[in-house]
């Protein structure tokens, strides 16, 4: 890029681009400061959709969109940390995605291995910000080496007290509910619980146990889906009963800082109603449990 410039211009161009970089980072910090003046969601869930379509739009092979998607993911982690979101849940790979061609699946697994290996590196943002990573889903369906890597990442970050990151890999919500149900039924048949204990909060506990979380952090405040599709695709069905749904038309690799900030400002506009709703719902639940 600097080939055509002469020696003195090279210095000026680098100086200008450095200044520009500083300017942009100051503006970004200002925007995050403004956003944090209002309420911030505690738990954000993202369905990262649109990688293949984005690649097709740019003339690449569809499975080449995924590495670009993972770059956006790294940015998103940074933005979540900067804006103070305490918990982030991502939908990386669904059990239904096993239907996709072998080549694409292998590519996705390779990408996952790369990302997880990076997470073990101490310079990665996961370690720097003390993020606790949890991988949720039916991990037994995955290849052995990927499973081992996942367990080592979870073990490595188990003691971290910073923000939480839950990655749903080989996951469907229905499978999650059924697994929790099977554990519950087994406990009941073994007489550890009685029939009349079965209610929504018990199932909540079993699902939370499956995810390794506490009951209160299960429900996301916002579910974001990119690429314009308006479906949940079997993601967090049990937990999404009162979550706000935000469907963005951008493809996931194109999802930028401004779109993220728009999401937060939208949440702040609807925050008051959302709070009232959550209070009513918690009141209802406590009333039921009391009875």
């Amino acid at each position: 890029m600097y080939d055509s410039l002469c020696f003195t211009d090279f210095g000026v161009a680098a100086w200008i681009s450095k200044l520009y970089g500083i300017f942009i980072s100051k503006i970004t910090s200002l925007l995050f400061f403004l956003v944090q003046l209002g309420p911030i969601p505690r738990h954000l869930a993202i369905i990262m959709d649109g990688n293949r379509r984005w690649a097709k739009q740019r003339g690449l092979a569809p499975s080449e969109g995924h590495p670009w998607g993972s770059k956006t993911l790294t940015n998103a982690l940074q933005w979540c940390y900067d804006s103070g979101i305490r918990q982030l849940t991502l939908f990386a790979f669904s059990i239904e995605n096993y239907k996709r061609p072998e080549e694409e699946r292998q590519r996705l697994f390779e990408l996952a291995k790369e990302k997880l290996t990076e997470m073990l590196d101490s310079r990665d943002i996961i370690q720097r910000y003390r993020v606790k990573v949890k991988l949720v889903g039916d991990l037994s369906l995955l290849p052995e080496d990927l499973q081992r890597l996942m367990h080592s990442v979870m073990k490595e970050t188990a003691e971290n007290e910073g923000p939480r990151l839950n990655i749903c890999f080989s996951y469907t919500a229905r499978d999650e509910i059924c697994t929790a149900l099977v554990h519950m039924l087994n406990d009941i048949l073994e007489r550890k619980l009685s029939f009349k204990d079965i209610d929504a909060s018990l199932l909540d506990e079993y699902i939370a146990r499956g995810q390794g979380l506490s009951k209160e952090c299960l429900a996301p405040d916002i579910i974001l889906r990119t690429s314009g599709e308006a479906r949940l695709s079997d993601f967090l069905l049990w937990q999404s009963s009162y979550s706000l749904l935000y469907f963005s038309d951008r493809m996931w690799p194109d999802f930028g800082l401004w779109d993220f900030l728009q999401l937060l400002f939208w949440y702040q506009r609807h925050w008051r109603e959302y709070q009232q709703l959550r209070q009513r719902q918690e009141h209802c639940q406590r009333h039921k449990e009391g009875v």
């Binding site: 509910i177 087994n186 479906r231």
Partner: protein, 359 residues
């Protein structure tokens, strides 16, 4: 979609303008403008006003001006190219004069609700529509300063929806009438709602029975007043044999409680030895859900502008297309349903796989 339609726009002689109605999906990077090169447009300018403004699509009425012509035939694909739009639906042009000589379309213009509107493919219609009827209270407050009038108007809108579904041959319809959380509303409103429900069940549902509609109620029936429970059982019994539309009304329903109830049934069956705990998996749960509760909807419509599920059918909406609109429920007409079905038709449902690959 086969493109056989023309829109006929009559330019009124005094002002030299006519209206067409466009269903817009804004494409990024395009601006909404008219080009002068089009042979069919001898229009000097246009203006537009948004109607039926919904969450993603918008119906926009475009006023075309032309001093020279009395009327113009505007082919749909030209309009699509000119305005960079998703589709053209010319209600106003079509209602005044049929757009083509196609006999089916001419029939449709005479009674728009009674048969399938143009551009809707009967194979691609949703087979099960679920509706969250939100916004009655706000509508009532806005128009009459009284929430209860809104609920009454909501019942009329529901009747229109049921009518449409019967004529467009949509086999299943589920509506969310009352949620477990609605008990928290002011007691006058809750009392009025139950009065409305008993009125509906005893009077209006008789009319629906005559139209061969099968009615089911789901939800926690024990908290309802006993007279209402009695009426419900009667209506379900009377309509059991009907077959034209299956209407499911979710009364005192909670999605989570539904899942818990199915779990209880499974446990009871497991205790009685009818099934083993190792047999419990997603497929079995799905079977139980379809048998004892509501089946999976294809399209979920939520009016009132809120973007959430509100604890309605959590298991079943795994792959349902969600359509959220800002229209309040009493304002929901067949045109809004048309828009929702058009939106559904344009979706590519892959269920996690890829289009065209064997699943």
């Amino acid at each position: 979609m086969r493109d056989t339609n023309f829109c006929r726009v009559n330019f009124h002689s005094s002002f030299g303008c006519g209206w067409i109605l466009l269903n817009l999906q804004w494409k990024p990077g395009y601006s909404f403008c008219l080009t002068r090169r089009a042979p069919h447009f001898l229009c000097s300018s246009y203006s537009y006003r948004p109607l039926l403004d919904s969450w993603k699509l918008g119906f926009v009425a475009v006023k075309l001006f032309s001093r020279a012509r009395r009327w113009a035939h505007l082919p749909q694909n030209e309009l699509k190219k000119q305005f960079c739009i998703f589709s053209v639906v010319s209600f106003e042009g079509m209602e005044k004069a049929p757009a083509t000589d196609d006999p089916k379309l001419t029939e449709w213009h005479k009674s728009p609700k009674r048969s399938l509107p143009p551009l809707l493919d009967p194979q691609k219609l949703p087979k099960h529509i679920a509706v969250i009827m939100d916004g009655n209270g706000r509508w009532g407050l806005h128009h009459f300063s009284c929430r209860t009038r809104g609920h009454r108007a909501g019942v009329d809108a529901l009747e229109e929806l049921i009518d449409c579904c019967v004529h467009w041959q949509i086999p299943l319809l589920t509506v969310f009438a009352f949620s477990c959380e609605n008990w928290k509303r002011p007691s006058e409103e809750v009392d009025f709602l139950f009065l409305l429900f008993s009125e509906m069940v005893s009077h209006k549902l008789q009319r629906l029975l005559e139209e061969n509609i099968r009615i089911r109620f789901v939800g926690n029936m024990e908290d309802l007043p006993p007279s209402l429970q009695q009426d419900i059982i009667e209506v379900e019994e009377l309509s059991r044999a009907n077959s034209s539309l299956e209407l499911t009304i979710a009364l005192n329903y909670s999605g989570r409680q539904d899942i818990v109830n199915i779990a209880r049934r499974m446990l009871r069956d497991a205790e009685q030895g009818l099934l083993h705990s190792s047999q419990v998996d997603e497929k079995l749960f799905q079977q139980y859900m379809q048998q004892y509760s509501i089946a999976d909807p294809d399209l979920l419509i939520r009016t009132g502008g809120e973007k959430r599920l509100s604890n309605f059918m959590l298991w079943q909406v795994a792959y349902t297309e969600l359509y959220m609109t800002d229209t309040l429920w009493p304002d929901f007409t067949w045109k809004h349903l048309y828009e929702a079905c058009l939106h559904y038709q344009s979706r590519k449902r892959k269920y996690g796989g890829l289009l065209g690959s064997p699943t």
